[in-house]
């Protein structure tokens, strides 16, 4: 399971994510939650303080709901790690970063097809967003 951030790939063992419901019910901290892309960001907000990582699911690279959900989570004050999980392509890396995500999780098959160099190039493409006149 490669995790991709601005520094490239890093390996991570398969994680046991909690559902949003379990996270809300849990009293533990440092939780990792898997959030479907049609879930409510507001509903999860009360548990933000106990969540270290939210992985937003992207069922397909063409389904852009996760980008809005990422922005919403950040707007509601989520300060932990935000991950886009699913078959994203490297061309979407800058969009994910622009929507408040810190990292992307892809599967091994995708990582074989789209190797680290592609993602690093995408991470360095500072023209991928048109930032003029738009704050942050």
């Amino acid at each position: 399971m490669p995790i991709i951030d601005d520094n490239g790939f890093r390996a991570e063992a398969e994680r046991a994510y909690l559902t949003p419901e379990d996270a809300l019910a849990s009293e533990a901290s440092e939780l990792a939650v898997l959030l479907p892309n049609d879930a409510s960001a507001e509903a999860l907000a009360p548990a933000f303080g106990r969540i270290a990582l939210i992985a937003v699911e992207f069922p397909s690279f063409a389904d852009g709901r996760g980008f809005s959900l990422g922005r919403r989570l950040r707007a509601l004050g989520f300060k932990g790690a935000l991950r886009a999980k699913g078959p994203l392509i490297s061309d979407q890396y800058a969009f994910a970063r622009g929507c408040g995500f810190d990292e992307v999780e892809i599967d091994d098959a995708m990582a074989a097809r789209q190797p680290e160099a592609h993602w690093l190039k995408a991470a360095q493409n500072n023209q991928a967003l048109y930032k003029r006149g738009r704050a942050a």
Partner: protein, 557 residues
């Protein structure tokens, strides 16, 4: 006119490099065809019936002569010597080869142009009034707003993978020439009671399979809140628009299924939750954009009107052209001319490279270097001195661009149809050509007066047939082309969807059917001032149905 600087220059160059890289990754298999497709589309490249088609963005339809000349160069170097101006105020080239596309994009980047977001499920090129900054009825110039929206929507990280395409149009005049009610979002520049500038926001208009007139979602939005409100609408749409069926994925369906009230509440809640200062462009940025749209240095021309009248008296063909193709400018001594790309018998919206160069030269010499593309597929010279109109006309006429038919029956919109489009069920260009030839006599056309015929080659409605005074929709009935006729459509501030008259007609019966509609109108109109649309609204569909399908035949059937 907006002037692109280093920033934009670097941006489009980088984008071309990215596209080259994407093509290379497609070739190695790093990108699958499915993954490459939206990237290709977001760079304006469609796969059509016979070849690729490249759609180039002309932001809000505004062009310089240098840019127009570059189109001519592209047409000559990589295409078949012509280009096609579209209802999106863009230009399309129908015959580029895939391997040439990065070179074409480089040639465009030389003049700060690109094909970004002219296709795909993203926010498309923003469109506007072709007379912006020149129209005598304008409340406020819509172009600074368009430019702001262009910048905001370009590569917007959140909205590049929407449920479906998204179109925004802006008008600054009460007379809507931008068809804002037929867009996903329409913006009308208005003032509140205290005189403060803002927008009326219209949402959920659109044509296609399920035509809908947009509804007002916010009666008055203060001007500085625009991007924040657009962001709220787009976020609600991105999260809630349907993704299970591409024919139900436009925002008009969300408006329809959710209900305007509920959707408004969702948008307002999103809007309230957003941090206002984040979205308000800085005052310096607004000032920078507005400065680019400052009026050109108009001159005070002594005797301009007298010179125009004298030229009209001396040249009746010129007088006829002025009558149809020229409208008032807000500046005394100036006029706005529309160059018809609807010469009788030609494909609507097509221009040869030679014609592009003529138009570019004229713009440079006489119109402060500006041209506009209209959604009705014509070209505008926005700022002409009245005493120079005759010279301009003569040069146009010599290049086959002097057709005097703006707003008349032969000034049709027609989509590419079966001649180019992979989705088409019938031809549309030949139908337009037949109608134009039939009504070619200028005396006949003038007698009919204002008439907008719009033709689509399938239910996707790119030819805007739903909002044509006469709409023609080409279908396929058991392998034979069949044309359905609607009447009473309107794309302006009094927008309406046309009403279907009855069973369709085979291709050869379309012209006779149009003839019967026209004859019915001429017999029923109160006087020559009453337009076809006014007559239709007054007397209703019945007399036209009777003319199209005589009741005897209807009962016998």
């Amino acid at each position: 006119m907006y002037r692109y600087d280093e920033f934009d220059h670097d941006f489009v160059r980088a984008r071309v490099a990215t596209f080259r890289d994407q093509v290379a990754r497609r070739v190695t298999g790093a990108l699958t065809e499915e993954e490459f497709r939206p990237l290709r589309l977001q760079n304006g490249l469609y796969l059509q019936l016979h070849a690729y088609m490249l759609r180039i963005a002309v932001p809000y339809g505004t062009l310089s002569s240098r840019q127009m000349r570059q189109f001519a160069l592209i047409a000559d170097t990589w295409d078949k010597g012509y280009g096609h101006f579209t209802t999106r105020q863009n230009i399309q080239f129908n015959w580029p080869k895939l391997k040439d596309v990065p070179d074409i994009l480089d040639a465009l980047a030389d003049v700060e142009m690109h094909a970004i977001q002219t296709s795909g499920n993203c926010i498309r090129n923003v469109t506007s009034d072709q007379f912006a900054g020149a129209a005598s009825d304008e409340i406020e110039d819509p172009r600074p707003t368009c430019e702001l929206v262009r910048q905001w929507s370009t590569n917007h990280p959140e909205f590049a993978f929407l449920p479906r395409k998204f179109k925004i149009a802006v008008t600054g005049s009460p007379n809507d020439r931008a068809a804002v009610k037929a867009h996903d979002i329409g913006l009308r520049m208005v003032r509140d009671d205290a005189g403060a500038p803002g927008y009326e926001v219209i949402v959920g208009g659109g044509l296609g399979r399920t035509p809908m007139i947009g509804k007002v979602v916010r009666e008055f939005l203060p001007k500085d809140q625009l991007l924040r409100y657009l962001e709220a609408i787009l976020r609600v749409y991105n999260l809630h628009g349907r993704r299970d069926n591409k024919y139900k994925a436009r925002i008009k369906i969300l408006v329809h299924e959710t209900g305007l009230e509920e959707l408004r509440a969702m948008i307002e809640a999103e809007f309230e939750a957003m941090d206002a200062p984040t979205f308000a462009p800085s005052a310096e940025e607004i000032a920078r954009i507005e400065a680019y749209f400052a009026p050109p240095a108009f001159e005070t021309v002594e005797g301009a009107d007298a010179a125009l009248e004298a030229a009209k008296a001396a040249d009746p063909r010129f007088a006829a052209w002025v009558d149809t193709n020229v409208v008032d400018h807000r500046e005394p001594g100036y006029a706005i001319a529309t160059i018809s790309l609807k010469a009788i018998g030609e494909a609507p919206g097509d221009a040869t490279s030679e014609q592009m160069r003529v138009m570019a030269d004229l713009a440079e010499r006489y119109s402060f270097d500006e041209l506009r593309v209209t959604h009705e597929q014509n070209i505008v010279l926005p700022h002409l001195r009245k005493d120079q109109l005759h010279e301009v006309y003569q040069a146009l006429d010599a290049a086959g661009l002097g057709t005097a038919n703006i707003g008349l029956i032969s000034d049709m919109i027609a989509c590419p149809g079966l001649d180019y489009c992979a989705l088409a069920t019938a031809r549309s260009i030949p139908v337009a050509q037949d109608i134009a030839r039939h009504f070619a006599d200028p005396v006949v056309a003038r007698d009919i007066g204002e008439m907008k015929i719009k033709i689509s080659g399938c239910i996707n409605a790119c030819g805007h047939h739903h909002v044509g005074h006469i709409g023609i929709l080409g279908l396929d009935k058991g392998g034979i082309e069949n044309y359905q006729i609607t009447l009473g459509g309107d794309a302006t501030e009094t927008a309406a969807i046309g009403e279907r008259m009855g069973p369709g007609f085979p291709a050869e019966e379309v012209v006779p059917a149009i003839e019967r509609i026209v004859e019915t109108y001429k017999a029923e109109r109160l006087n020559r001032e009453e337009t076809f649309l006014q007559t239709y609204r007054r007397i209703g569909a019945e007399p036209f149905k009777e003319a199209l399908y005589p009741s005897e035949a209807r009962h016998a059937a």
